[in-house]
Symmetry: C2
Subunit: 359 residues, 2 copies
Amino acid sequence: MKNFSYKKLFQFTQAIFEKIGFLEKEAILATQALLQADLRGIDSHGVARLSGYVRLWEAGRLNPKPNIQVLYETPSTATLDGDSGVGLVVAQKAMEIAIQKAETYGTGWVAVQNSNHFGIAGYHAMLALQKNMIGIALTNASPLVAPTFSTDRLLGTNPIAVAIPAKNEPPFVADFATTTASNGKLEILERKGEKAPWGWLQDAQGNITTDTQARKQGGALLPLGSDYEHGSHKGYCLGALVDIFSGVFSGANYALWVPPFVNYLPLPQNPVGKGIGHFLGAIRVDAFRPADEFLNHMDNWIQTFRNAKAVEGKRVLIPGEPERIAEQERLRNGIPLMPSVVEDLYNLAEKFKILFPQN
Amino acid sequence: MKNFSYKKLFQFTQAIFEKIGFLEKEAILATQALLQADLRGIDSHGVARLSGYVRLWEAGRLNPKPNIQVLYETPSTATLDGDSGVGLVVAQKAMEIAIQKAETYGTGWVAVQNSNHFGIAGYHAMLALQKNMIGIALTNASPLVAPTFSTDRLLGTNPIAVAIPAKNEPPFVADFATTTASNGKLEILERKGEKAPWGWLQDAQGNITTDTQARKQGGALLPLGSDYEHGSHKGYCLGALVDIFSGVFSGANYALWVPPFVNYLPLPQNPVGKGIGHFLGAIRVDAFRPADEFLNHMDNWIQTFRNAKAVEGKRVLIPGEPERIAEQERLRNGIPLMPSVVEDLYNLAEKFKILFPQN
């Protein structure tokens, strides 16, 4: 592991997006969204995926200069056509519209079709915090997860993010996949040759297995809850809701038709919509009571949970706290990248004839 | 177990609500909401709780003739003061307002303070289906659940319900507590003297236990996911979101301050708001794309999941399907009530000098 400064990784990533045809302004937006994952410690969703986005562009599946347009709207809602742009940018435009609508109508809700992966959901939800609003971000993703009692992979890891501002306390930021464990964690175990804990995945027959290889042999990730006895039907409901809000609301693909991020997998036949789908929401903090009252009670909520009695040797965490601590640390000390990621970025540098930073 | 007809239980329940001072119209609304739990097979939330509502009234905590009022609003949002009315009725008024707002603005969102328990969340979400809308219902509840790594009980079982209409298919209706298992299931195990499965609850020190008695000895229910390795921090996020949307948005109580349903427990000291809180939402099916397109794709979504390959001996279920089948069966054959529930209702009949139905 070697550490790289945020600033240098930013310049490099922005340059790559510009090399594949992004306008400078949109290259900056995409880089901000992508690197937020690295800063917040969600390494699987950051620069480690930069070459993946480049491969999508090479395959003709990512439009570097999309004409992002509102297709449909009501006072508090809109549907956006991402024109095959990168979700990293498209979702930010969607949140901008949601915020504008919330300014006038109290809340704003934007469904997005014809997009690509948008990085971490939390980044997009947190955009609303800058306007003193509550932000919500959902996205569907290519199918890796089996519904309860099924052996078919029909759902993505379909994350839910909600960011809620407070007054003196840092914001509450929930951001989680609707599976028991993320695909990223399984990849790490696989690389180390280790077994997965019980309940993270099933084999091709639908039996829970600890073999991480099962993912490549007809198996599937499990919805939050792991099995029926532990509430996997609730995790299935959550993943389904994210799929419907992101895909069926917007006119994007859903279920098995959501296109894969990796370009070596074929695109699903007979698509039911366009690209992948997102769903963004913004709620004014004074939509339900005066802003000051709301923010003071959020402070009290956060302090109450932070000061709750903890299990011996542990601390009660507020959603978003571990990621905020990681961000402070990594802005100071740099972002640690695995050798395979560094090599990947170095290859991109070679391909596009730009300098790769040494730290 | 003895079966009672829906019609007779309805008349009886309505009569009890009228005896404690409800207007006829509101007694009917309350009965509809309460008995929907019995019809849908969620026995813990139906007539089994009727005597609990009566005890709340006896304790002066339930206002039979509330003056339910809008406290605050924006075009797409409102906050309702339930005036200590029963949630069974108050939440229906809230959904009515959400639907009106959605008719004009695309979506409508109503936070409710100063309410009491509202029965099953699914009933309130499903009200939107009658207007061809998507319905959402959340409520907080008295604290039984410990956040991940805590030994304090700070969250209720805080359910989430979302009802989504389709065209020819029955609607998609998700309705679930944000815990691994419901308190009702634990009560049943306790009555039978059986152990709970791993992961449903913890003891006073925060260790997972199978002893159902732990609930009464300083233990707690666990958030969906059971432990950190299996994603309990995600279940904690979900329960927290429901608490904040229901309690902090509205000016109701939240966290440890949510008042208990049972009147033998003391009210929490220094309340931070009024009563318990709900959050209701309505979204027009044509808020994001033409109604027909949306409804056709919902049919396709539902058929895709229903026809997914199932694990041997199982069937892939659509959220709401088991409850719909229970409803059809119970409308036909009656609602089975346990002897203890029958006795409870019989005692109410005696107290209020009304006839208790024999079947």
